[in-house]
């Protein structure tokens, strides 16, 4: 399925280059760009977090991300999309996911970025294990609104 509007999709281990992602959706026809960044924060569910290990089922994560991007572009003509998700050990403040969407007009660009992050959280096989200040670790399980402690 050819889709030139999906400019870039990748699951990466290196830090995400946000400027490169914005450049990937830049076009003379674009009047608005929406960039969403997910970052590791220092507290989750009231516990102090020092970092997160992200793990992916790499080939399926990339194909699901690409499918989400294609479906979003198919529903809104003129969208350009670039997405990266990072895996590995991230520290507080690190960018875990970046979604760049451009369009001639602002509403489709803003709606597109929102749709992609919501879909990503529903169906892309990526997991995160939080590291806590006390040395404990737990896999985050959104289906139970919390975490499953390990070890």
């Amino acid at each position: 399925m050819h889709s030139p509007d999906v400019r870039h999709v990748a699951v990466v281990t290196d830090p995400i280059d946000v400027v490169a992602l914005l450049a990937a959706v830049a076009a003379p026809s674009s009047g608005a760009t929406s960039l969403f960044l997910g970052t590791v924060r220092e507290v989750n569910d009231g516990r102090a977090v020092t970092g997160i290990d992200y793990e992916a089922y790499q080939p399926m994560a990339e194909s699901e991300l690409r499918a989400i991007a294609r479906e979003t572009c198919a529903d809104t003509a003129g969208l350009l999309v670039a997405v990266e998700h990072r895996v590995g050990t991230l520290l507080v403040g690190d960018v875990s996911v970046a979604i760049a969407v451009s369009h001639a007009h602002r509403a489709p660009a803003l709606d597109g970025a929102r749709r992609i992050i919501e879909s990503l959280k529903q169906r892309v096989p990526i997991w995160k294990q939080e590291h806590y200040v006390d040395g404990d670790r737990a896999w985050v399980d959104p289906t139970t609104s919390g975490t499953a402690r390990t070890a």
Binding site: M60, L120, P125, I126, W127, W139, V140, P142, T150
Partner: protein, 79 residues
């Protein structure tokens, strides 16, 4: 035996990132899950764990064929 990929909390549960399910292909996805549940650590699986076949989400009644890439998928938490 059907080789199955494991990730995250399921890899922790079974103590492996890949194992062979004691069931022959072709078989249904839910049959595979029942076979995994009988293995050490299998009781930690939820009632209906998600399964992907050839990197695509598979329903409980989908059929797994010989040579398919099968993965047991914990609740996703990307972003």
């Amino acid at each position: 035996m059907i080789p199955v990929l494991l990730f995250a909390s399921y890899a922790d549960a079974f103590g492996a990132r890949r194992l062979d399910a004691p069931v022959g292909a072709p078989c249904r996805v839910d049959t595979l899950v029942d076979a995994l549940r009988a293995l050490p650590g299998g009781t930690r699986l939820p009632a209906q764990p998600l399964v992907a076949v050839n990197r695509t989400w598979a329903a409980p009644d989908a059929i797994i064929s010989v040579g398919d890439e099968v993965a047991l998928i914990p609740p996703v938490a990307g972003g």
